[in-house]
């Protein structure tokens, strides 16, 4: 059987058009690849019947020359997107067995464009984590391996299953969500492209909520062009999400080919954080040179409040989470653990349903929102959020994009992960600022660490500057010529 999983999206579309092969053949090939890479635990649910039925519908449209833009394209869905009548758990025991009666807007748009769902991917519980180790369904293994080294590495998180699936060619593309780096960090760790669009560009309707003022859906793909196409299809105003942007969706795909000449790139020295690896600093330098070679100009910029973004995030995100997760009460859906009184039932259900990291964040959030601490923590963090956001706005008066590393370190082996919460949170120190300010940002695989693990470079743009972010990302991709290292 031909292995179609190595073909690019463009190759697939051309092949379908020329009738070289069918969607059913391609999807069958992906299902076999999912089976072969099962040990990675990237999927928590495989949906082969749904996939083959969708492939047949795509084949029928292609036969009639009525092909849609994603017909026959195999997509993995992070288990945080509600899929009608298909289990959706956010990888929490709390939602085990939950079957939504409605479809998320982002996934509906994908199916309306002909995309084929392969299954639901593993993630950190309720998207709270940077390793995929908080999942109730076990960790995900990064497909990247090092020669002569038996250690296995984390895929990052929270969209760890989506990133691993795309990197392992067990999906062509995948949906993710990014509240503090949950698309970009795993993309960097797994050697693929991941983009967090401007806040509000993709509807949050039907996404299991974590921190609503920060949550943003986005693509995990093999190439920047694929990310542009996926974003084109999933973006757009949705009356069902009050925070969804009500403005025309730009032509991301078309604007990708605009020249880079004259692009002003800012290099923020505050992103030179403590613990930033020498190999990452060198790659950052290279990235700068790549963009200059393609006609951009680079200048130093200053974002002095960068270091406050992470602590602000760890007040705001838990606060919003504690409020959002109040819905898990054992009454309407999900887990119920009985108790003698209503309150006992709530307490037992939530003790049993939430894992350690989720419990910690809900408690933290409850504390910072409680009487007497609201102003000192929550209000304060909201004020700092404005300071950080204004600071970005000022910098973007003089530059078009910012270039920075995606993460301070490459992936780490199982057993070598940071043991205390704050060191673990530092994984997101370079990705969180874009969430705090609602800005678009992309991670592009750009090189390898001294050990041989993938490293990502990040492009951050001004609000609504998703097109320029994609264009600069493409320039990095073109120059980096990244080759996926050895792996499964």
């Amino acid at each position: 059987m031909t292995d179609f999983t190595t073909l690019s999206l463009t190759d697939l579309k051309n092949g379908y058009e020329k009738k070289d092969f069918t969607c059913r053949e391609v999807v069958t090939s992906y299902l076999a690849r999912m089976e072969a890479t099962k040990a990675l635990n990237a999927y928590v649910l495989e949906t082969p019947d749904i996939a083959l039925a969708a492939a047949d519908r795509s084949d029928a449209r292609i036969q009639k020359q009525e092909a849609l833009s994603l017909d026959g394209i195999p997509v993995a869905v992070k288990d945080l997107f509600c899929t009608k009548d298909v289990p959706t758990t956010a990888c929490s025991k709390m939602l085990e067995g939950y079957k939504p009666k409605y479809e998320s807007t982002v996934t509906q748009k994908l199916w309306d464009a002909g995309a084929v769902m392969l299954g639901k991917t593993n993630m950190d519980e309720f998207a709270m984590g940077s390793t995929n180790m908080t999942s109730a369904f076990g960790p995900v293994i990064n497909p990247v391996t090092l020669p002569g080294d038996a250690r296995r590495f984390v895929p990052g998180g929270s969209s760890g299953g989506s990133a691993a699936a795309v990197a392992a060619r067990a999906a062509l593309m995948a949906t993710g969500s990014d509240t503090g780096g949950s698309i970009r960090q795993p993309a960097a760790f797994c050697g693929i492209v991941g983009m967090k669009p401007t806040y509000g560009l993709c509807s949050r309707y039907g996404m299991v909520a974590f921190a609503s003022s920060l949550d943003q859906a986005g693509p995990l793909t093999r190439t920047v062009a694929d990310a542009a196409l996926m974003l084109q299809i999933t973006a757009g105003h949705d009356p069902k999400d009050a925070t969804s942007l009500n403005r025309p969706v730009p032509d991301f795909v078309g604007e990708l080919s605009a020249p880079l000449k004259g692009l002003r790139v800012g290099i923020p020295h505050e992103y030179q954080v403590e613990g930033l690896g020498a190999d990452i600093v060198a790659l950052w330098e290279k990235g700068r040179a790549w963009l200059v070679e393609q006609g951009a100009t680079c200048v130093e910029v200053s974002l002095p409040h960068t270091k406050y973004a992470l602590p602000a995030y760890y007040v705001l995100a838990p606060a919003e989470a504690s409020s959002n997760l109040a819905r898990y009460d054992g009454v309407r859906y999900g887990l119920r653990v009985e108790g003698a009184t209503l309150d006992e039932m709530y307490e037992n259900t939530r003790a049993e349903g939430f894992g350690d990291e989720v419990t910690r964040r809900v408690l933290m959030g409850t504390y910072v929102l409680s009487a007497g601490f609201y102003d000192a923590y929550y209000r304060k963090a909201q004020r700092v959020r404005r300071v950080i956001s204004d600071e970005f706005r000022g910098v973007f008066e003089n530059v078009d994009v910012i270039l920075a590393p995606t993460t301070p370190t490459p992936s780490f082996a199982f057993g070598e992960e940071p043991k205390d919460p704050i060191s673990m949170y530092m994984n997101d120190v370079l990705t969180v600022p874009a969430n705090i300010a609602g800005l678009p940002a992309i991670s592009v695989p750009a090189g390898l660490s001294k050990e041989g693990l993938p490293l990502g470079l990040q492009i951050i743009g001004p609000a609504f500057g998703d097109s320029v972010v994609l264009r600069a990302g493409l320039a990095v991709e073109r120059a980096a010529n990244f080759v996926f290292p050895q792996g499964e």
Binding site: G200, L335, E347, T359, T366, K380
Partner: protein
């Protein structure tokens, strides 16, 4: 944060905690609180709190029914239901 406060917050959050879990949570939460208190270094007098990045007000819509007759869908995942209603433990004697 002392152990008593952790227990109080857990009650507010309706999460049952065993006494043996209190010390580690107390340590973790105290560490995080201490770390986030670096926000106090930022001068924010006259800075308005920011609750959303692009919206200064919430959008409004007409108060009309957009979907109805969804009782079965709404109850489809209920752990316990009866007569088209969610069932909970008895609340009044």
């Amino acid at each position: 944060m002392d152990a008593q406060t952790v227990a109080k917050v857990a009650r507010l959050a309706r999460i049952h905690l065993d006494d043996k879990d209190l010390p580690i949570l107390q340590e973790r939460l105290t560490g995080i609180l201490k770390w986030v208190s670096m926000l106090d270094e930022v001068e924010t007098t006259n800075v308005e709190p920011m609750f959303s990045v692009h919206l200064e007000t919430s959008p409004v819509r007409e108060d009309v029914v957009t979907s109805a007759s969804m009782v079965n869908d709404i109850l489809a995942n209920a752990p316990e239901k009866e007569l088209d209603m969610f069932v909970v433990p008895k609340m009044v004697g």
